[in-house]
């Protein structure tokens, strides 16, 4: 058996070995993230059979559980760790081609560090450790947003940094208040005694923690940084921020609400905020002229849908939300990678400049189309399976208000379809006079491989969604079973 600690330790070790490998050859650096994520993917998959039987905890440094830091290895954590490794692997293959300018060595270090942070967030069972991994994720993403060192990149990075730092400060105040009341930092240990405290003294840390993590999750009033950061970053970074980083914020918020506080009465509010985020995101995306900004706003919308589905608080709703996380991670990664390649060729982010790409780079255009279809939710792509599950879960509640909300969700999907199909029309059916005589480009292999794998995944899981059924069901029931989580950590 491979210890789950290696999921964090090996990539972290490799990160800081990158400058050492740099002495041998400058070219090695870009293959280290590929190596680290390949390792993580293999370990995560090999852990699946074991966690399906029973979740287990690993205490770090040999300290017994409430005193030391522990990792909680349950189906949800392993599933998300696998997803992070898979998406991270594909994007790092793309980056071997895409990242040429600037200090590439530090790019690859920061990129791997970001993924280490994300993996740590899903595995840890200690609230301060969660904060530390969260900061690793955030600080490396601030730096990566500004990687191009151009005007928009630096400005977006600065905005993101200021908002993110205030957010993480709020998290730390929340942790300080919790520690002052309960004298422990272990999530399960706090969760066991949380109901013995007065509601008011628990409410303040809960509000602070949710607000703090909500900044990274881009929940509605806290998402001002997102469109700037996602559109100004290099495309491979936009892909990882959109595919993985914001999901970690959502994961932290959900973990806090479901496991730490067990605050199910809050979920109606969460559901409503999710719906608002969805509608505002999609409406804002509708009027964008810049393709990356459009995708960034669409990410906000999709996060809203995920939060809406978590807010349903039924096993099926959470399963739908986890499915939507997967679908969105694949589709948005694919879209940003495809758009990055198109921008690389057209030199402009305006949607009009993408005209005629369908003829010029056919493979990437098909990838973009599949990503868009999956995001809107056409069958047989994976987006259909996830949205269908969310619709089914909402209707299963048999609540009039929820059915009305569902109407708004579907309205948002229609808007999404409207603006995305407009882009597809531009790509395929508008002719760009300047580029008409140019020959077809053959797509580079480092770009073609990740794009093809993502396409296969989107179609494959879309046709056969049962593939993820078992692990997602058990992850959803684990998230709802608060007592089970506490018992598995503290026997």
């Amino acid at each position: 058996m491979v210890s789950p600690i290696l999921l964090i330790a090996i990539p972290l070790g490799l990160t800081f070995c990158i400058p050492l490998f740099g002495f041998i050859s400058k070219q090695i650096a870009k293959f280290i993230p590929v190596l680290g994520m390949l390792f993580n993917l293999v370990v995560a998959i090999s852990l699946i059979p074991q966690v399906m039987e029973a979740p287990f905890t690993v205490s770090l440094g040999g300290f017994p559980v409430p005193f030391g830091i522990n990792l909680v290895v349950d189906p949800l954590a392993v599933f998300l760790a696998g997803l992070i490794a898979l998406v991270g692997l594909l994007i790092s293959i793309y980056a071997t081609y895409y990242i040429k300018k600037g200090d590439t060595q530090s790019y690859h270090m920061l990129y791997l560090l970001l993924l280490v942070g994300a993996t740590g967030i899903v595995l840890t069972g200690d609230i301060f450790n969660l904060f530390v991994f969260f900061e690793i994720l955030c600080i490396s993403s601030y730096a990566l947003v500004a990687y191009n060192r151009d005007k928009p990149g630096i400005e977006a990075g600065m905005k993101y940094l200021i908002q993110g730092t205030v957010g993480s400060g709020l998290i730390l105040i929340g942790i300080a208040l919790l520690y002052g009341q309960f004298g422990t930092l272990n999530i399960a240990h706090i969760a066991r005694y949380i109901h013995s405290a007065t509601p008011l003294s628990v409410f303040l840390p809960m509000a602070l923690l949710i607000t703090g993590f909500g900044v990274e999750a881009a929940i509605l009033p806290l998402n001002a940084w997102l469109p700037d950061a996602h559109s100004s970053a290099p495309s491979s970074i936009s892909a990882i921020l959109s595919g993985i980083a914001i999901k970690m914020g959502v994961y932290a918020v959900i973990r806090i609400i479901f496991t730490l506080f067990g605050a199910h009465s809050l979920l109606h509010y969460v559901l409503f905020i999710g719906l608002l985020t969805l509608l505002v995101g999609e409406f804002a995306a509708f009027r964008q002229k810049n393709i990356k900004r459009m995708l960034a706003y669409s990410s906000t919308g999709q996060i809203g849908l995920i939060i809406f589905a978590f807010g349903l608080a039924s096993a099926m709703g959470i399963k739908g939300a986890l499915f939507q996380i997967t679908a969105h991670a694949f589709a948005k990664a694919l879209l940003f990678l495809a758009v990055g390649y198109m921008i690389y060729h057209s030199g402009s982010m305006e949607i009009d400049s993408l005209a005629g790409m369908g003829k010029k780079i056919p493979l990437v255009s098909i990838a973009f189309t599949i990503g868009v279809f999956s995001l809107i939710g056409f069958p047989p792509f994976v987006g259909f399976a996830s949205k269908f599950l969310i619709v089914k879960a909402t209707l299963a509640q048999q609540d009039l208000l929820l059915t009305i909300f569902l109407g708004f969700v579907l309205l948002a999907t229609v808007i999404e379809g409207a603006y995305f199909l407009k882009v597809i029309q531009t790509i395929y059916f508008k002719n760009n006079k300047e580029q008409e005589n140019q020959p077809q480009h053959s797509t580079s292999l480092a770009v073609a491989i990740p794009i093809c794998i993502l396409m296969v995944l989107i179609i494959g899981i879309g046709i056969y969604p049962e593939m993820l059924n078992k692990i997602l069901s058990s992850a959803a029931s684990m998230l709802l079973d608060r007592g089970g989580y506490i018992r598995s950590v503290l026997p």
Binding site: E135, I139, I154, I162, T165, I173, Y179
Partner: protein, 113 residues
């Protein structure tokens, strides 16, 4: 009690600076004050007046007079994180100044909604 007042006062002053000042360097100083306030709040959570370090090998130290070491460890970690954030913020500020020739946040508006 006075420590808590000081901590919360610093947090509020820091947030006020971040929200109202137009100069980027002042905003970064505000962030620093905000973080410092949080560190003091954390240390206060484990502080005992006249307490000593929790070293059990020393004879005749009453365990109830020992300061809780966990918040201090947390603050050390948080200080390291804060240093990283501020260093990054200042280096971005330098870059921003190169591009725009100003640190006035009202004039830095390349990106809009």
């Amino acid at each position: 009690m006075i420590y808590y007042t000081a901590a919360i006062g610093l947090i509020i002053i820091g947030l006020y600076i971040v929200l109202t000042k137009r100069n980027l360097i002042k905003v970064i100083i505000g962030l620093d004050l905000f973080e410092t306030g949080i560190f003091i709040l954390l240390v206060c959570a484990g502080y005992i007046k006249g307490g000593t370090a929790p070293i059990f090998s020393k004879a005749k130290v009453n365990p109830s007079m020992m300061v809780d070491p966990v918040p201090q460890a947390l603050v050390l970690t948080a200080i390291v994180i804060g240093v990283a954030t501020l260093a990054l913020a200042l280096s971005l500020a330098i870059r921003l100044y190169h591009h725009y020739g100003t640190l006035d946040l009202r004039k830095i508006k390349e990106l809009k909604w």
